[in-house]
């Protein structure tokens, strides 16, 4: 018998700025390979998904109307908070057990740097992707990017933290609100991320994190009419076709890419404006010009 029994918690869902247990009362176990222990996480249900969509929807107008300057500072604050809990996050990554310690720290560091980089996009993307259009006539014609709205994010299992945060930060920095569904096989880093976000001045509902079985959630995510876009990588053919079919009903934007695990480390490529662009809608304004 050990001298002291660890106080083990069941990791909660992060919905609307609060940590909640699943409405279903269910949890699921994950084996922490390095510690050799079993970690329990709440298993989000359809209703938890619904609640997080509601929360994301409610947070949408405030977050999109916030200045890019403010959003940038909040993303930078996320980086600061992750830096503080760098080793703790590396431990969480160790739950998957396959990476050597140096690589785990490298992933955390790359993730921190990624957040810092996306923080900078928040007040610059308009100048890169927007512009004035030369129409023949007495009109001012300008195109400005605006956030798509509520985005569901389905990151891959590997790299569990870096991919998830890259996929989260891209829509987030330009004013979308997000439902991040943790990688099923390796959810612990994402669950910990929720705790970090909760202390990063991210307004309630702007980021929501669900852990659980993808199969319980993905279809409802595709069906939900308040979800405006879904970002996913490396889905198998069948899942992707199904996702697209179900998304057709609400004309949801499906952004799907095939990305290899090492490719996530390519910093410039993974935070280019073209990573952000899929979560923007171009709004074009016409106004006459005359005295």
């Amino acid at each position: 018998m050990p001298q002291r029994i660890d106080v083990a918690k069941t990791w909660k869902l992060y919905i609307g700025g609060r940590f909640v247990r699943s409405e279903s009362g269910q949890s699921f176990p994950v084996h922490h390979r390095r510690h050799g222990t079993t970690v329990h996480l709440c298993r989000a249900s359809r209703k938890d998904l619904r609640d997080s969509v509601e929360a994301a929807k409610a947070a949408r107008s405030g977050w999109s109307a916030a200045s890019g300057y403010l959003r940038g500072q909040i993303l930078y604050r996320m980086a600061e908070m992750l830096e503080c809990r760098r080793t703790e996050m590396a431990e969480a990554l160790a739950a998957a057990g396959s990476q050597p310690p140096k690589q785990r720290l490298d992933e955390v560091d790359a993730t921190i740097d990624r957040l810092v980089s996306f923080a900078g996009w928040s007040d610059k993307i308009e100048q890169i992707l927007g512009g004035q259009n030369a129409v023949p006539g007495p009109y001012y014609n300008i195109t400005v990017p605006e956030p798509t709205g509520v985005v569901g994010v389905l990151p891959p299992d590997k790299p569990a933290l870096l991919a998830g945060v890259s996929m989260l930060a891209a829509p987030l920095c330009v004013g979308n609100t997000v439902i991040l569904i943790a990688p099923e096989a390796h959810p612990l880093p994402t669950a910990l991320l929720g705790e970090i976000l909760a202390t990063s001045d991210v307004p309630s509902g702007v980021v929501n994190i669900l852990t659980g079985r993808r199969a319980d959630l993905i279809g409802h995510l595709a069906d939900h009419r308040e979800v405006n876009a879904i970002s996913a990588v490396n889905l198998d053919e069948e899942n992707l076709t199904d996702l697209r079919k179900r998304a057709a009903e609400s004309i949801k934007r499906i952004h799907h890419e095939r990305v290899t695990t090492p490719a996530w480390m390519k910093h410039e490529e993974r935070c280019s404006p073209w990573c952000v662009e899929p979560f923007l809608e171009m709004k074009t304004l016409w106004h006459p010009s005359a005295c």
Partner: protein
């Protein structure tokens, strides 16, 4: 007075749409005759002589000497300086062609009010049926609207029952908002002097001494002011574009604009006039071409 802001671009697009109306065949013939009947045949030169005015009056009564199965109408009026009113009256008396005179310190209006009122009163006394007055643009542009309105009221009282055409000189007003404001101001001031009958009061674009003058958009703004007064009171104010309308085609475009903005009711010399001189011969040229099926030469038509 309620403000009626005007959006220049959409206004100009709408005005241009009338220039794309295709007026053909019978509609063209009828339109040309109608336009001819609406002309205020005008001469406003320092060199105007009694003989020139007499010649103008003859042209007004009988715009063309040739024979047509369906005789041409005379024009609506002859418009001259006050000094020449008696001459015009002599020739036009009993013909149905009216005598109009520019008074009130035409064209600048830069005279003391007393002088301007006497100018108008004498023109009426000499036989003018209609007085074309200029508003005090100096006061208007300085924002002294009440001063402008009061002067209009005094002129109206002075010349009544002669008809009054109020010249805004749109080319000096700066923008369409001002043209609209001046139109409303003129109509309301004239209407506040007592009940007015249809066509007793006109608003008029220009003196003819300033360009731009009767552009399509400027006229459209004024027509809209007239329409709103009609909506509000049921009284029909008349409209007179003057200056710059030289071609028959331009006149037809104006008529299309009147028809579609105010309705067919306004398609009468009682409510719509063209202040013009060279327009008459182009109308005739087109009319005779249609009657005779051949193109006419400029020298086929007498100078006024």
């Amino acid at each position: 007075m309620v403000a009626h802001p005007v959006d220049a671009i959409m206004l100009e697009q709408r005005a241009a749409s009338f220039t794309r109306r295709s007026i053909k065949e019978g509609a063209k013939k009828q339109g040309l005759r109608l336009a001819l009947s609406m002309v205020d045949l005008t001469t406003l030169e320092g060199s105007d002589s009694p003989e020139k005015v007499r010649s103008l009056c003859r042209k007004a009564i009988r715009p063309w000497e040739g024979a047509l199965d369906n005789p041409l109408p005379s024009v609506a009026a002859v418009c001259v300086y006050p000094n020449l009113v008696p001459i015009a009256k002599q020739v036009l008396e009993g013909t149905g062609v009216r005598v109009a005179s520019v008074a009130t310190g035409f064209p600048s209006g830069q005279y003391p009010l007393g002088v301007r009122l006497r100018d108008a009163a004498e023109a009426v006394a000499a036989g003018a049926d209609e007085i074309d007055m200029v508003i005090n643009r100096g006061a208007f542009l300085a924002g002294r609207d009440e001063e402008v309105a009061e002067e209009i009221r005094e002129v109206r009282s002075t010349v009544h029952p002669a008809h009054l055409k109020i010249i805004l000189e749109t080319g000096e007003l700066g923008n369409y908002d001002a043209i609209r404001r001046a139109s409303d101001l003129a109509i309301e001031a004239a209407a506040s002097t007592g009940p007015i009958r249809d066509g007793e009061i006109f608003i008029k674009t220009s003196t003819g001494k300033i360009a731009p003058a009767a552009t399509m958009p400027a006229v459209l703004v004024m027509l809209e002011a007239i329409r709103d007064h009609w909506f509000a009171t049921g009284v029909r104010i008349g409209m007179k574009p003057a200056g710059g309308i030289r071609k028959a085609k331009a006149a037809l475009h104006q008529l299309a604009m009147v028809k579609e903005t105010l309705g067919d009711d306004w398609l009468t010399p009682k409510l719509f006039r063209f202040g013009a001189s060279t327009l008459t011969n182009d109308l005739l040229r087109q009319l005779i071409r249609m009657e005779r099926h051949r193109y006419m030469a400029a020298h086929d038509f007498s100078e006024a």
